[in-house]
Amino acid sequence: MPEWLDVVVRSLIFLLTLFFITKLVGKKQISQLSFFEYVSGITIGSIAGEVTMGLENNIYHGLIGVLIFGGTPFIIGLLSLKSKAVRDVVEGKGTVFIKNGKIMEENLKKERYTIDEMMELLRAKDVFQVSDVEFAILESSGDLNVLLKKENQPLTAKDLGVNVPPTKEPQIVIMDGEILDEPLATIGLNRNWLKTELEKLGVTIENVFFGEVDSYGQLAVDLFDDQIKIPEPSEKPLLLATMKKCQADLELFALSTNGEEAKKMFSENSKKLEKAIDKVTPLLRS
């Protein structure tokens, strides 16, 4: 066998082997969360490279090496699923760098991190001031994870006490002009519904590059031809406006009518409607 053919065969064999080993060990290998996966990742790569190009090396020896380096993390992974002790040894524990807003100097020293390196990791998390940090931990993967002090955390709807409507994940129903039946069925809709919605927008299915349905059952599309303008979904704001108009009308009637009974009826209903509007506004605004 000529040497170049040998390289081709070896390359293909190792490519396949590495592919299956990575599949076997899973996503953990790719993200290299633990020490083990980090080491085996490097070693598997270099063994494969060495054996592919160094033709004097025995290919079976290379395969054995790769299999051991791929198989061991897999077995260790299974073991560490079962036992916390194994996990602590193999994957390591995080080291607390900042606690109660104070830097833990001993822990920094233990991990041989300088204050500059810690600041670099903090900045990678968009934190430029140590005084903003309540708690920070160096994970075994080498990432620094930061809990900001409450006043420095981003404002959420919960902080403001604002009611927000629950949302479900949107479903992609059209891709490249093709209708995807499975996601349509997941949200309990069908092709007929989609056709009517597209007709409402005035576009044909062939012209739609991408279409998704949100949790309110509204269809939003992107067309191949970006020159064409499609109307934004206006149903909800329109509905809200109608309700507000009705409420204003009722109030007006209450003011302008002379009959006591009618006045009472109008103002009561206006109040009822006002309450109802308050309730649905978060649902209709988005």
Partner: protein, 68 residues
């Protein structure tokens, strides 16, 4: 424009809002969302009832604009 026709207009607006809510309710996936829509729809139908009664009375008063 008369009072009766104003009230009738408002009545039909409320009706349209109610049907809009019903449509949204049908498409809503979340139970909580559905509950809010249902509650609002109940309020709307109560208002519709009251307005209908009022329209009836107004039609008695303004005989010449009877209709619908």
């Amino acid at each position: 424009m008369t009072v009766a026709s104003d009230v009738k207009q408002c009545l039909s607006s409320v009706k349209s809002a109610e049907s809009g809510l019903a449509r949204l309710k049908e498409h809503a996936e979340d139970e909580e969302m559905k509950a809010i829509f249902t509650e609002t729809m109940t309020t709307m139908s109560e208002i519709i009832e009251d307005l209908k009664k009022r329209v009836g009375k107004l039609e008695l008063e303004e005989e010449q604009y009877k209709g619908f």
